[in-house]
């Protein structure tokens, strides 16, 4: 009898483990034809000849995924608990900072949940096991982000206003229709456009502008809890960004016919994402009591420089930089000021407070925006502060015109003239539509059937669908507490509470 040689136990390499997971687990269906099982993979016009060509560079397998995600959670929850036990909210630089969290919780966290649903959906509908697994992991990540953000910020909800019903507000509040409609546009597209929009344009090209300055800003402003959830999420984000770049290269390499389709999606989703990030620009330049870098600097670092390298790399496939990127660069010296002005105008209908920048803050803005701030925006703050001093804090009493595509009030100016509002319009089936920019107009004109359905908050209020005709009725319908959550920071309950804490601190020096 021949003795069996002992089985040699060799640890599989990273590449081998990944290959077992993503090549061994897929199969050709037999009970039903493949196109019935995967009904969404072809209607967008993208041609895939070989799903096996997909490679996830991180080659993450499930055992490693669970191990590292569990470690991230343990670290995060240790910080959140210690933050709550030590009354960490008392150590932030200033209560105005919390308004950035209000915007984040109502505007961004619900998007994490939408992303969870979106990735779970497209993960089901790709044919190749590689992209299916990458999407599945991302779907779980996004759910984790939504949950950890709500857990972290629930501590602030014990003390500050406007954080009590983010999910409900996300579906109703006027400015939250901007992030909501952005994501619904992506989720209602096919699986390839969804990945181009969220994984590539948003995660790869633009997300650094959201998370990195926001988290660095949180660290600088003493908010350790937010820093920790932010970086915990962002550590997943690096993997998501890689998925974004891989899906683009995969589509481009599979068929030359895919190139113009992908280019159009990049153009569309760059512009949509950029418009959405207008909210971040005002957060960076106006809402952080201690500032990290200006929006203009962040745009230069994370889009102009990083984007140059990326699009040079993609040029070998025939892909060029997104259309209107030069308009975004022209706007970088005014974007945050125009967006802050919109919210200053309409804070009486918002779930967070706005305020006039202090003299020191205006000095910083002048230094960061030498060509625009003193000329166009400082004089406006001077007018507003004089009005406020007379007890007539300026609120715009009339609802604004909105852009049909991005749904932001039409507060953006002509690319070459910061003093004139940019009006663009189109007619479709006898109806007029208005846009804030050529970028938003092009998006509409390519798929008008989609955007004729836009749920524009201002029009909905005038149709009588939002609780009533008075601001107070509409705020009730939003679940906002009139006189508490809205209006200027000056005179708000948040400010009163914060000032009391500071007075106590001064009276009882440790």
């Amino acid at each position: 009898m021949n003795a069996m040689p002992p089985l040699k136990q060799r640890k599989l390499s990273l590449k081998e483990r990944y290959s077992h997971l993503t090549r061994g687990l897929g199969w050709e269906t037999t009970y039903q034809p493949m196109d019935k099982v995967f009904p969404y993979v072809s209607y967008e016009g993208i041609k895939i000849h070989d799903w096996e060509a997909w490679e996830d560079p991180f080659r993450l397998t499930m055992d490693a995924y669970w191990k590292y995600q569990a470690e991230k959670e343990r670290k995060l929850y240790a910080v959140i608990e210690s933050f709550a036990q030590n009354n960490g909210h008392l150590n932030i630089t200033d209560a105005r900072y919390v308004n950035a969290l209000k915007l984040f919780l109502t505007g961004v966290s619900p998007l994490e949940y939408s992303a969870h649903r979106g990735y779970a959906h497209v993960g089901r509908h790709f044919v190749g096991a590689g992209p299916r697994i990458a999407c599945q992991m991302q779907a779980i990540d996004e759910l984790r982000h939504a949950q950890t953000q709500m857990h972290t910020m629930s501590h602030y909800n014990k003390f500050f206003d406007g954080l009590h019903d983010a999910r409900h507000m996300h579906d109703r509040v006027w400015y939250l229709s901007v992030p909501k409609s952005f994501f619904e546009d992506a989720c209602s597209a096919g699986p390839f456009e969804f990945l181009t929009s969220i994984s590539f344009s948003f995660e790869y090209v633009l997300t650094n502008l959201l998370f990195v300055p926001f988290m660095s800003g949180a660290a600088y402003n003493g908010d350790m809890a937010t820093v920790t959830f932010g970086f915990s999420a962002q550590s997943d984000e690096a993997r998501h960004m890689t998925l974004g770049l891989e899906i683009i290269k995969f589509m481009l390499e599979q068929d030359e016919g895919n190139v113009p389709i992908v280019q159009r999606w990049i153009d569309k989703w760059f512009w949509r994402g950029y418009r959405l990030l207008g909210l971040v620009s005002m957060m960076m330049d106006y809402m952080l009591p201690k500032r990290i870098m200006s929006w203009a600097e962040a745009w230069e670092m994370y889009f102009e420089q990083a984007g140059d390298a990326l699009f040079e790399d993609l040029s070998r496939y025939g892909i060029r930089k997104p259309k209107y990127h030069e308009v975004a660069s022209k706007e970088k010296h005014r974007l945050s000021h125009e967006v802050w002005s919109i919210f200053y105008n309409y804070t009486h209908a918002a779930a967070f407070h706005t305020w006039l920048p202090t003299e020191d803050e205006m000095k910083w803005l002048s230094a960061k925006y030498p060509d625009t701030f003193d000329k166009y925006y400082r004089p406006r703050f001077k007018c507003w502060s004089e009005m406020a001093a007379e007890g007539k804090r300026f609120y715009n009493p009339t609802l604004p015109q909105l852009c049909t595509t991005c749904q932001i009030p039409m507060g953006f100016t002509e690319p070459d003239d910061p003093t004139t509002i940019c009006f663009r319009s189109a007619e479709y089936k006898g109806e007029r539509y208005h846009f804030c920019s050529d970028g938003c107009k092009d998006i509409f004109c390519y798929e008008p059937e989609k955007y004729v359905q836009s749920w524009l908050p201002v029009h909905q209020i005038y149709m009588g669908n939002c609780g009533g005709a008075e601001v107070k009725d509409v705020l009730d319908w939003y679940h906002l507490n009139f006189g508490v959550d809205n209006f200027d920071y000056e005179g708000s309950p948040d400010q009163k509470l914060w000032d009391e804490w500071q007075a106590q601190k001064a009276a009882n020096p440790v």
Partner: protein, 96 residues
């Protein structure tokens, strides 16, 4: 070609990773910001397992990088011994 980039958390482990990157990539430029460090490098940048292990004083699985990463730019190539970010040099597309 453009720069590739990696951003790491300012944690104990993150600091050692930054040290290892600087040791292996002399051209790397390091920018320190509150809570994070961004490293840029022309064309390509590599993390080598051995260099990290020398600093960290234990076995290191490169996938542990997942715990310290914040962001990156460039095409990723990872195996058991190294993690590389690079922009491709004029490679032609491989349309089938």
């Amino acid at each position: 070609m453009g720069k590739v980039s990696i951003t790491l958390q300012n944690t104990d482990e993150g600091r050692m990773l930054v040290d290892a990157i600087v040791a292996d990539n002399p051209a790397a430029e390091v920018s320190r910001m509150p809570a994070l460090t961004k490293i840029d490098c022309e064309d390509r940048l590599s993390l080598r397992r051995e260099t990290i292990e020398e600093r960290i004083g234990r076995r290191y699985d490169l996938q542990e990088l997942q715990l310290s990463l914040i962001s990156l730019a460039g095409n990723v190539e990872e195996d058991d011994d190294s993690f590389t970010l690079a922009w491709s040099r004029g490679a032609s597309p491989k349309h089938s």
